[in-house]
Amino acid sequence: MHLLEGEGVSIHFGGLAAVSDVSFYIDQGEVLGLIGPNGAGKTTLFNLISSCYVPRPGILKFKGKNITGMSPYKICRLGIARTFQTVKIFANMPVIDNVRIGSLFGNTRSPASAEANQQSIELLEFVGLSRVMNTPARDLTLANQKRLEVARALATKPELLMLDELMAGLNPTEVAQAMDLVRQIRDKGITIIMIEHVMKAIMSVCGRIIVLHHGQKIAEGTPQEIANSKTVIEVYLGE
C-alpha cells in the first residue's frame, strides 16, 4: 500500500484546467520531487492534497483511506503537513508560538502546554532558530521564515511533509543548508514531497521526480531519467 495515492486528480478554474488527470503515488520514506515550469500546476496539486480544493474528478488516498474532500485541519491531523510557496507564517506572533500552534493543534491527541513548549523548542533547535525564539516572526529573514514554516509543519508530527519551493529565493549557502535540512527530515523517517526550482537540490535529494506541465504529468522517474528525458528538456530546460 502506498502512503499517498492520487488517481486521476483534476481541477478546473473557470475553464482552465489547472491540474488534469494526474495519477501519482508516494511510498513511505521516499523523497519525491515535483517540478515543472511556473504555472504548471505544482502548487495546485499541493493544494489538492492538503484539501484547499477538492479534486473534480479524482480520488486521493492516504494510507489506503479516502481523504478526498476532507477539511484541511483533518488532513493535517492525519499526518500530512505542508509549507507554502509564499511564506504564510503568523507574522505578528513570536517564533515559538508559530511552532506551538502546530504542536498543539496538529495532532489528534493534543499535548499538554508544557510538552508542546518543549517540543517546539526542540524543533526550533533542529531547524536552527532557537536563538530567535521570542522575536516576532515577521522580523526573520526570508530563509529563516522558510525554516520556521518547516519547523511549524514538523510540529504537527507529520508522516508526509510537503515542501513548496523551500529553496526559492535562498542564496547558494542557504540552499546547501536547506538541502541538509531536508535530508535530516528524511532521516527522521518522514516522507517528503517537494516542489523545487533549484535543480541541483532536487537532483541530489530526491529519489524520484514527477514533471508537471500545463497541469499534466509529462514524465516520472529517477533524477537521471528525468535529466535525460527529451520531453522534459524541451519543456522545462528550454532547449
Binding site: 515550469p37 511556473n38 504555472g39 504548471a40 515577521r138 522580523d139 529573514t141 526570508l142 519551493e165 529553496m167 526559492a168 529565493g169 535562498l170 542564496n171 547558494p172 542557504e174 526550482h197 533549484v198 535543480m199 541541483k200 537532483m203 500545463h214 535529466a227 524541451e234 519543456v235 530546460l237 528550454g238 532547449e239
Partner: protein, 234 residues
C-alpha cells in the same frame, strides 16, 4: 540610458534589495537573471515607481526618476509590462491597448500606434472586441506586450513574458522581443528561462538574494560555472 546606482529597497520591514547598480545603454537588451524571490520584480517595481527605493538613485535619460509616481515615469518613456500580464480583464482587447496609450503624448497618436501593434500581433486585431479575460494565455501575453508598446516607450521593461506559456509560444515571445530591439526600443528583460534569455540578450545581470552577483555579456555568463550550476542545472 538608464542608470541605477546603489538602490536599496525595503518591503515593509524586510530589506529586499541591497546596493544594486547597473546601466542600460541605448538599444540593448539587458537580462536580469535570478531565482524566484531574488528581488528581480522588486527591482523592476522600484524602477517603474511602484515602490520607492530607500536609498540610491535612478536616472533615466539624464533625469532622476526615483521618487516619481509611476504615471510620471511612464510619461518619460519607460513602459513596464508586469509579471503575470495584469490585463484589465473586464475590458476589451482594444480598450486594453488604448489604456496603454493613456499618457498625453501617446493618446494623440493612439490610432497609428494601434495599427502598428496590430501589425505586430495580427491575432490581437482578430480579437479586438473580445474581453481580455477570454483570451488564451499566449494571446494574453501578446496583449500585455502590445499594451506596453502603446505608450511609445523608449525603454521597455518586460517581466517574465514566457511565464506559463507553451514552448512554441515561448519561442514566439523571444522572437518578438528580438524584433522590438530592431525597432529601436531598449529592453530590460526578466526571465526564468535562462538559456533562451541569455541567447537573446546582449548583457545580463545575475541577482542573488537582493544583491548583484554577476554582470557581463551573455556569452561569458553562459560559460560561467556559477550560472551553469545554479540556473542551468548542469
Amino acid at each position: 540610458m538608464l542608470e541605477v546606482s546603489n538602490i536599496s529597497t525595503f518591503y515593509g520591514q524586510i530589506q529586499v534589495l541591497w546596493d544594486i547598480c547597473f546601466k542600460i545603454s541605448d538599444g540593448e537588451i539587458l537580462a536580469l537573471i535570478g531565482a524566484n524571490g531574488a528581488g528581480k520584480t522588486t527591482l523592476l517595481n522600484t524602477i517603474s515607481g511602484v515602490l520607492r527605493p530607500n536609498s540610491g538613485t535612478i536616472t533615466f535619460l539624464g533625469q532622476r526618476i526615483d521618487g516619481l509616481a509611476p504615471h510620471a515615469i511612464v510619461e518619460l518613456g519607460i513602459s513596464h509590462i508586469p509579471e503575470g500580464r495584469k490585463l484589465f480583464s473586464d475590458m476589451s482587447v482594444q480598450e486594453n491597448l488604448e489604456m496603454g496609450a493613456y499618457i498625453d503624448r501617446a493618446w494623440k497618436h493612439r490610432r497609428e500606434t494601434l495599427e502598428k501593434v496590430f501589425e505586430f500581433f495580427p491575432r490581437l486585431k482578430e480579437r479586438a472586441g473580445q474581453l481580455a479575460r477570454t483570451l488564451s494565455g499566449g494571446e494574453q501575453q501578446m496583449l500585455a506586450m502590445g499594451r506596453g508598446l502603446m505608450s511609445r516607450p523608449k525603454l521597455c521593461i518586460i517581466d517574465e513574458p514566457s511565464n506559463g506559456l507553451a514552448p512554441k509560444l515561448v519561442q514566439e515571445v523571444f522572437q518578438i522581443i528580438k524584433s522590438l530591439r530592431e525597432q529601436g526600443i531598449t529592453i530590460l528583460l526578466i526571465e526564468q528561462n535562462v538559456r533562451q534569455t541569455l541567447e537573446v540578450a546582449d548583457r545580463a545581470c545575475v541577482l542573488e538574494n537582493g544583491r548583484m552577483a554577476l554582470e557581463g555579456c551573455c556569452e561569458d555568463l553562459l560559460k560561467s560555472d556559477h550560472v551553469r550550476k545554479a540556473y542551468l542545472g548542469l
